[in-house]
Amino acid sequence: MSEKILFRNMDLPGYTGSIGDYLKQGGYQALSKALKEFQPSEVIEIVKKSGLRGRGGAGFPAGAKWGFVPKGEDKPRYLSCNADEGEPGTFKDRQLMERDPHQLIEGMVISSYAIGAKTAYVYIRGEFRKAARILEQALEESYSRGFLGRDILESGYDLEIYIHRGAGAYICGEETALLESIEGKRGNPRLKPPFPASVGLYGSPTVINNVETLCNVPHIVLRGPEWFARIGTPKSTGTKIFSVSGHIERPGNYELPMGTPLRELIYQHAGGIKNGRRLKAVIPGGSSTPVLTPDKVDVPLDFESVAAAGSMLGSGAVIVMDETTCMVRVAMILARFYHHESCGQCTQCREGTAWMHKILKRVEEGRGSQGDLELLLDICDNMKGKTICPLSDAAAMPVESYIQHFRGEFEEHVREKRCPFQEGSKLYV
């Protein structure tokens, strides 16, 4: 069994996530070490050296992101924790916040110290009311023990952390839309550059990191970057929390070293395909990542290997689909989602997602025509690389992949004028 880092505490019997429990497990020692032993720039160097990459989906090196914050400017700087967990299939950040909130808070304080932020916001999706309440209480505990507020641990460093609840919008997980949302606006992504590290919240330098990314920081500071870099693969270091859902015996979150084979995750840790059925397709990194077919099931789950297999590690959300699953229906559900979530700023995305949904719905319902697949591919082509933010690409790439890998199934829907899986899809009713 590999060592757990982020889930270590919460897996202990009787662990409640209270500050008392957290301190008993050595909590806030990393913060004390960071404040007493390291200059902010040294913390950045440590995180760079660890190889920690963003866990929200893009996999951008966290230390490098912090390093982009301009030095010596007198503008305030901000840290924003991205807790707008919304990528379908992903449910890890909620668990991290609900069951070990101080791990996140400690990570945020160290990260804020590193970039010189005196104010930090947790942008949490509105639906996560329970997690927000738990975090709120944990923040109070943290303030009362002197880990937050003025002169933290007598270091002279001050930090305030506030929770900002979203209100139902997937797009606010995109970092610049998230900033707009904190500023009290619609969640319309901003054109980049400038990047948030130079012009972010209220026009000031801002770093936005995912919950899981920030949770790794205390461990890296306490145990050293070399220790962290030895876990996983040379380019994808550390562990990753994989959220496994769909047709699987034991759905849930699994923290495993980067590079763990997909097969091991599905068949050993998560107990294999539900009801002993056969695997038909698997989404490796959340709904925005292209689907993989069973011949790719040995792919190691790290950023490079999953990319080489034709998809992306994304947020590590693995959605498993068995042989009874209709791939047209899957594509239709995802297209509906992206249509619903497009902010509407860019024509390609606003119109493209609407057309994709409409066409896939008619194909699934047996009303498709011969040219529909080519039309879909043409729409996908027009949606990629042409918009302000990646939502348009995120909508087009999976749809393309379903057509590419399961073209026969799409054609059968058109030819037979019905969904051949309707009986099958009722198996789980």
């Binding site: 992903t90 639906e127 789980y428």
Partner: protein, 154 residues
């Protein structure tokens, strides 16, 4: 309300940032965002009423029409759908005698379909008001509905 709003305003260097938190506060107390409430928020934050409306309508959690005491939001995204979300929705429609998007005549239940709630590992999932209900089956849904019907509070 006023005190709470002031506390919210202190968290941000720019008062417009208080918009979402204050809208949440109003919906918590009044169940929805009425036109009057949005005009009042606009005044408080120095915005035009249309600016409040254009932001509020961007976010799916805000209600502009009254909803039932229990707002049932069933996820029908991929992981929930793979495990039978559609048939759960059909079951709820039958039990409540309304279609998704409607409210029961006694104003007890509003039923809607929503996109991913971020709880795919315990699919199928629904949210009723603030609470998540996970690993649902038709039987569980019946028990939940019954317990809500007899509960005096929302």
């Amino acid at each position: 309300m006023k005190e709470k709003s002031q506390a919210i305003l202190r968290r941000y260097p720019d008062k417009r940032s208080a918009l979402l938190p204050i809208l949440h506060l109003i919906q918590e107390e009044q169940g929805r965002l009425s036109d009057e409430a949005m005009v009042a928020v606009a005044e408080l934050l120095g915005l035009k009423p249309v600016e409040v409306r254009e932001v509020a309508t961007f976010y799916t959690m805000f209600n502009f029409r009254p909803v039932g005491r229990y707002h049932i939001q069933v996820c029908h995204n991929l992981s929930c759908s793979l495990l039978g979300a559609e048939s759960l929705i059909a079951h709820l429609e039958e039990r409540l005698q309304i279609r998704a998007g409607e409210t029961t005549p006694d104003n007890l239940f509003t039923l809607i379909k929503v996109e991913c709630l971020g709880s795919c590992g315990t699919a199928p999932v629904m949210q009723i008001n603030d609470d998540y209900y996970e690993n649902l089956t038709k039987e569980k849904v019946d028990v939940i509905l019954e317990s809500l019907r007899v509960s005096p509070h929302g």
